[in-house]
Symmetry: C2
Subunit: 300 residues, 2 copies
């Protein structure tokens, strides 16, 4: 399974970065291959200063070795070996009318002393962070997420959409990071689902990514924006940074387990502002966004 | 003691903000009085878009009530009441040749069921974060810190300087946040020191703050800078954000105990950049800074 899934994310990285370069038309992804001292490594691809994408990364990694302390504590085991691989992407468009998107699909294995698999699961999801809300874009994104889920279980979308709303909640601001999407973790083998079923589901979600995001880019890319729109985007990007550095388990896990810092923090936006006690104007588009982020919405 | 120290920080806030307004010459501090639902409140003063200070805050607060969960766990008590007050300041100058400075002086009390004090201590310190290093400025800052410490104990500066180097270490980057200063915590009553002695020491440090920082501003404020210097400053400010959101106990404590978010996060710089895998030029001033931040230096 680990070969099968790694092979999948290798190809998906290629598919996604080729397509994004085509859409951008100006910038190309820069590739960095890196090795992890304790075992494994990754292939980071970053795009910067494009016509559409101000900054973005589409990274894959496959790491293995002794369980780091933080995982030993979590699983309450004294020792153990693990394998983890996944694809992570974040895209920060230049135009404030285009939303930031994040996605991640990953697979994890843990072994006993004899080297047999004792734990094995998939995780992942994708979520959208607009700076200005176009309802139809939010509906489109969620509709594609649902279309990826529905063939596998009628309850998956509802459940994983709620997970996503719960997870991407910036609790210290009492607001959502964005308009959500789907998020799932610990998808293990059960009576109902084989590990192959799980693989099929997660790859189905991955295969829907471009369809969930690119039509939004196509529809909004020519919208004109002013420096006021840009300021608002940069202030909202501050909330993105706050979420990733204060709450995001993946980021903190990477920072505390000797991950490659530049690959982990490629998720941070290129230009960001913190303005003291920023207030939106009544009945403005900025205020409308904050209302939408104040509680989860059923988009479909 | 709590009245005595609160009275001190109230006056010190006034002294510092008046002097900083005079130095800036353009912007004025904006004041916000806030209340904490669970007890207490604060007086936040923020300056933005000044001639010298792009953003800064000099805040006091005095909060009390039931011990928040995070403190109950830390002290291993089931319940209890507390009082905490302090002054916190962060100044982010516009000119990249001027360093960012942070300082904090605080006092804490915890009570038993009868309302008697069972724990009581002072904490605080001040540290400097340059974007370009002028050795004589680092020496000046540390010399004033040492001058504040020496009358109280010959070992204080050495000890608190080391605490500062240890505390403001951005471990995931394997570099210091800045060139340090002094940092101390849990200064309790002992056989050697009464709580009055502790008060005298902490206020002595507070009284030296302006002398530690303003001569550096005076000396460097007219230096011309380019957009390249500004970019470097904004990239380095990213490290400041990373430290405050990932590692700083004070910030995380505030975020997790229902503090006033805008007062806590006034410490974040106004304009910040994250550039993927940024590299400095060999033998440049930027590279020289990174060398200095790679391990603690004895400035005196």
């Amino acid at each position: 399974m680990k070969k099968q899934f790694y092979n999948y994310i290798e190809n998906l990285q290629e598919t996604i970065t080729s397509k994004l370069e085509e859409v951008d038309g100006l910038a190309k992804f820069k590739e960095d291959i890196w090795k992890r001292k304790e075992g494994g490594g990754g292939r980071t691809r970053v795009i910067e200063n494009g016509a559409i994408f101000e900054k973005g990364g589409v990274n894959i990694s496959a790491v293995h070795g002794e369980l780091p302390e933080v995982l030993r504590n979590q699983f309450q085991v004294k020792e153990g070996h693990f394998f983890a691989c996944g694809l992570s992407l974040v895209l920060h468009p230049k135009n404030p009318f285009l939303p930031t998107v994040h996605a991640n699909w990953r697979y994890f294995e843990m072994y006993n002393e004899a080297g047999a698999i004792v734990k094995q699961w998939f995780g992942g999801g994708q979520d959208l962070t607009p700076y200005y809300l176009f309802e139809e874009d939010a509906i489109h994104f969620h509709t594609v997420c649902k279309a990826a889920c529905d063939p596998y279980h009628s309850e998956f979308y509802r459940k994983f959409k709620k997970n996503c709303d719960d997870y991407f909640w910036n609790s210290h601001r009492n607001e959502a990071r964005g308009i959500g999407g789907i998020f799932f973790d610990y998808l293990k083998e059960t009576d109902e689902f084989s590990i192959e079923d799980r693989f099929n589901f997660v790859t189905e979600v991955g295969n829907h990514f471009l369809e969930s995001y690119l039509p939004i880019i196509a529809k909004r890319r020519e919208l004109k924006f002013t420096s006021a729109h840009k300021n608002w985007q940069e202030i909202r990007r501050g909330r993105y940074v706050e979420f990733n550095l204060v709450h995001d388990r993946g980021t903190l896990f990477g920072l505390k387990t000797n991950g490659r810092i530049e690959s982990i923090l490629m998720s941070l936006p290129p230009h960001v502002q913190w303005v003291y006690n920023h207030q939106t104007i009544k009945n403005s588009k900025e205020e409308a966004l904050l209302k939408v982020l104040s509680k989860p919405i059923d988009w479909i």
